[in-house]
Symmetry: D2
Subunit: 160 residues, 4 copies
């Protein structure tokens, strides 16, 4: 089978391909703002995600942990870390969650890091381009939640 | 109050600061591999995460959704998306999870994108540098799970 | 406002009402088996769930914790406990999960207890009859997953 | 191997055993309230949980689903259902979560039922007595959160 994204096996660093499929956005629109930020380097690998992927590969290899890192297990571990993140907020009011003390924020940042690390690891195992998938998902969400219908409403798209 | 990481307000793009606190790694070690990948651009913003942050800001602003995006709510939403990701794997064997059909993988990639988008949004709201937090967490995990003690074992660090 | 289930405010102990709405099942069928077990006491309160509800009420009242126990917060806490339960299994093979050592099983039982306690507490706050809701859901699932279509398959009902 | 709780294989219906280990509570205390509710039937099986267990057994057997119901998979499925429950609350204020419209409450009750059903199924597979585990956990929590230290505070026991 021809590889997905032939010529772009970097998994977390190739946003250019997906960009080709999207018609040029109106200036000032959401997609326009986004592309303005992406354009300078849309064809370059994303250094942070790429570095994390390599670091996680090395980390697992050194410990012989690939045997545990099936996508199923990684998805479970990611979900567990997301809940550990949520645990910090479960009894807080929304206002209190907007004003975390420095120490709490540091621990929250650690849980967020854990989520990102498992996400990068899962993307590596499934050969998913995370950044490209996120860009495509924002475009998808923009269609699911048209501005005029969803403004100021938290309803699910199925109920708009 | 003096901003955290003065001079580095990019929130998702400043890995340089945290790097200063870590002693130089041995060449060939995990941290060495990681830094080799980071070094070229450790002081530059990460284009993909930065673009996603801006896109999410625009997306929420257009829909007047900032009112819903308290850190508490975003943490809950992230956790829900992580579970939707897990749902795809819950009845699969580990082997089946390693060999997803193309269609299933595409849907899994969408759920992964949702997790990343909420993570980026939460990082923005809390002014957390995601990439730097992840780099710091890998270093922290390397200390919690020394190679010689954790090789081939899935035990938690508290039980090594 | 007239209470839901007038005459049945026990919240976790009134299965009789929902039973009236369900046509009598064929003997030997799933619903038949279920009703055979329920029939002796379908009109009586369920002592265990009732006792847990009362214990949780007392526990929260003594600590002035009602202020934290909004349904939103309880749903988050329940989700966090469910993830703590999952954490015990995340790196195990399915076979290993079927053969937990006694100590691991004891810790798993504690996490299961936490899930049940928050579930009972949430049911109390929302005035939901847990046992009746579960009976109704099994009947609903039996219609969503007809035996002949779902035998030996883990596919979601939307894909049968 | 001698069965755990010899003479009490009902898995979800034997609260008597654990009760023997707990010293008699002061009248009017939490444990006193709890035992007053339990005492009439602490030695009898809990009809609702027992009926649900039997119904789930039949449901799975008819569909040949035991092959999918490893404890690992059931823990994942339970966690996914808990997140679906949380999804209903993620964008609501706490006050709104206390005043759900009837339709929303009905859907919430369905998700709660799903959580309970997987919990009962997992308890069956692991031979855990859910009601007894919950009673023991409340007693444990009462020790972890002494009234005088935890009154009006949502802090974790590790920070009291």
């Amino acid at each position: 089978m021809k590889p997905r994204n032939a010529g772009c096996r970097a998994a977390v660093g190739c946003s250019a391909i997906i960009m080709e499929k999207i018609p040029p956005p109106l200036p000032g629109s959401l997609a326009g703002v986004m592309l303005a930020h992406m354009s300078a380097d849309a064809t370059a690998p994303d250094p942070a995600l790429l570095a994390l992927r390599e670091a996680m590969r090395g980390f697992a290899a050194e410990r012989d942990w690939d045997q545990f890192h099936s996508p199923k297990n990684l998805a479970a571990a990611l979900s567990v870390e997301a809940a550990e993140l949520l645990e910090h907020f479960q009894w807080l009011t929304e206002d209190a969650s907007r004003a975390l003390p420095a120490e709490a924020r540091a621990r929250v940042a650690e849980e967020m890091a854990d989520v990102l690390l498992y996400l990068v690891r899962l993307a590596d195992k499934l050969d998913v381009d995370l950044a490209a998938a996120a860009v495509a998902k924002i475009a998808h969400n923009a269609r699911k939640y048209p501005v005029e219908k969803s403004r100021g409403s938290s309803r699910k798209y199925t109920e708009l």
